[in-house]
Symmetry: C2
Subunit: 412 residues, 2 copies
């Protein structure tokens, strides 16, 4: 566990790099008028200081966001691995467009309802990493495919492959699919013969096109210590690599071998045949990732800057050593470790109450009064983003853009 002090030092140092300039201006998201037309419930327009926003408010520092996207691109340059960022993290078409504008080869979606949103917003290169197993969701997938032929979906059962092929035939389409090969026991077909047989079945089915495989090691992303993470990830992926090699040997066209994440973005480059990494959290960072340690800093993951924060307001100061703020579970989730209060290493913030945050402290940088604002790094970025309708993009603390989180709540 990193001490709050060392974390704080990092937070002060991070994000001081000048904004990179390579992001095309035309994908910087919606303009103010477009945002106001789409978002009826945001009270704060562009130009407002983030310290004046009604709270709880979700903010992203645009300089840091752009820096993170640039850092990833630089890190992968020269490797054979591209990035296919997972949009389940941000659920925000504007950020997907930033990522694609910076060279990502597509995005991932976890659910068909997310894929619907991104496809409707003009994001075409979507790889859905979960299978669609019911008749209704297969129909939803076909409706996406009809409008967007670059939609690819995961399959992990022979019956599901047949159902998809039948649905595609009925719709007059050919569906691109990848086989999800299990790493662990959560999703996917077990590696080896079963996975190879499934790929061969897909290759023969009339309305499916086999594109490759997924091998996502969810359990590896947060292993603490780079060496541990490095060794365990490569070991966990070994059966998937063997499957990949069997598929190639059998003559199948395995053009996609996708997996990995923010914790292993600089590890999967060592996996033979690997094509692209499904990084999600790298754009935002969070307390969970800060703790895992990086290649050159065993105690703190400093590769990416924490760009995502929640602004909160102090509501109560009556009780010694305690403060109450207005961001609780519904604003921060119950994930651990607890939120970090930027600039207050002596604060222990818990979001265990639905509507309130409780702070305990022995030392504070100042005497707090009711109405004061605090800025928090969130425990785990993905489910926090899912609590908000809009994300305030700030530069030097001023709101530059308000992005709708268009796929918020799309858990289907």
């Amino acid at each position: 566990m990193t001490s709050p002090v060392s974390r704080r030092r990092f937070l002060t140092a991070a994000g001081t790099t000048a904004a990179t300039v390579w992001i095309p201006k035309d994908v910087r998201g919606y303009g103010k008028a477009e945002v106001l037309a789409r978002v009826t419930d945001t009270k704060a327009g562009a130009g407002v200081s983030k310290w004046e926003l009604d709270t709880p408010a979700l903010c992203v520092d645009l300089d840091k966001l752009e820096q993170n996207i640039a850092t990833l691109r630089t890190a992968l340059t020269g490797s054979k691995v591209a990035s296919r960022p997972h949009a389940k993290t941000h659920k925000c078409p504007a950020i997907a467009k930033l990522q694609l504008g910076a060279g990502s080869i597509g995005i991932c979606a976890a659910k068909v309802s997310e894929a619907e949103v991104f496809s409707a917003e003009g994001v075409r290169k979507i790889l859905m990493t979960t299978s669609n197993v019911t008749r209704s969701k297969i129909q939803r997938a076909m409706r996406i495919l009809k409008e967007n032929r670059e939609f690819i979906q995961a399959v992990d059962y022979p019956d599901n492959a047949r159902d998809l092929s039948d649905a595609a035939r009925a719709a007059g389409l050919t569906a691109d699919v990848v086989v999800d090969v299990a790493v662990g026991t959560r999703s996917g077909v077990p590696p080896g013969d079963q996975a190879v047989a499934l790929a061969q079945l897909i290759d023969k089915l009339p309305n499916l096109r086999f594109r490759g495989i997924l091998g996502y090691d969810g359990g590896a992303q947060h292993i603490k210590g780079f060496k541990n993470r490095y060794e365990q990830s490569l070991q966990h992926l070994e059966p998937v690599v063997q499957t990949f090699e069997k598929l190639k040997a059998s003559g199948l066209n395995v053009e996609i071998f996708s997996g990995g994440g923010t914790g292993t973005y600089n590890i999967v480059t060592k996996v033979p045949g690997f094509t692209d990494v499904q990084v999600g959290s790298y754009v935002f960072m969070d307390c969970q990732y800060l703790e895992i340690g990086s290649e050159h800093n065993e105690s703190l993951f400093t590769d990416f800057a924490p760009s995502l924060t929640v602004m909160t307001t102090v509501l109560n100061t009556y009780f010694p050593g305690r403060l109450t703020a207005d961001a609780g579970t519904k604003a921060l989730t119950l994930n651990k470790p607890d939120p970090i209060v930027i600039g207050e290493p002596g604060f222990a913030y818990t979001a265990g109450s639905d509507e309130f945050g409780s702070i305990r402290y022995e030392t504070a940088s100042k005497q707090y009064k009711v109405g004061d604002k605090l800025e928090l790094i969130v425990p785990h970025c993905d489910p926090v983003v899912n609590e908000y309708d809009v994300l305030h993009g700030t530069r030097q603390d001023r709101v530059e853009v308000v992005w709708p989180i268009s796929a918020r709540g799309k858990s289907q």
Copy 2:
């Protein structure tokens, strides 16, 4: 900790009572056309079986919901305590209207953004239990008050009382306020002299009207065992009762003495002067409340029926003793205890992964296959409701109405 078996027995028995008939039909929520006009992203209309809904889907059994509302009314009949249900639980104007139609004297809101939604939907008797401490939120409160003179808000600081009075004067209004008296250290002014002085200040300020006090004991609601809960709640409230009596003795008009919740609805009736209970979870129930025990059943809280469930779909059956389903943290939150799978007492369901639920089991009622549906009782109803845009109201498993969760995400 209750065993899954005894829980299951309860779940089978609950909700078999015939639907009560006293709920006025005209407050049963939006009609189908109105819902479809308002809710663009629900794929399932009325009449569909809940077992055919795309998942994850949030459902409420309308018979049980009505039964819970009737149970509370019956329980409070003959006491001097009314109900003022907390709408932070359901965030759903249609349910607020059911509660008001069944005799509740108003609703509570936790945040000004919630109060805005309910007021705009025609719910007038709103008591906001949190104070509005910033200039911007005070303005939002004044805008509500301008349209809805039955809006009451909490105050716990003298400066805040002065700010509110000034804002009300500027708006040409008189604002009704209650003093939030602290039980514990989370919110409110400490009981005793400080609270009395604040009430007297409010009484003198030109544009405020003092209406009474709040004394909410959040920590008492989930104390296990009725006797423990009974004794501790009354003990925690003792300083608030003394404050109430001082206020009365000083000649102030203390017409509201509000607090309590689902865990203490039949305890606060013993508190001298108490006027109304802020029950929230009683309409839905959840795994947390099932565990607290009731007056006549030490191990299981059987007073209200679990009406709220999440439907989920099995995605993976490859691995022995395990299933993967499609409801994870974003559909169920990380609250404990874990979700209960109805009809499968041998299942241990964890929602620790953002997108997936992981089930471990030794015994199952049948051989599960991909695409099968499961129904879950949620860990803690309030934050789960906040993850969904719509609530499917079902009767005998058929969707009768789809209610927008209009205040979802209103954490400001």
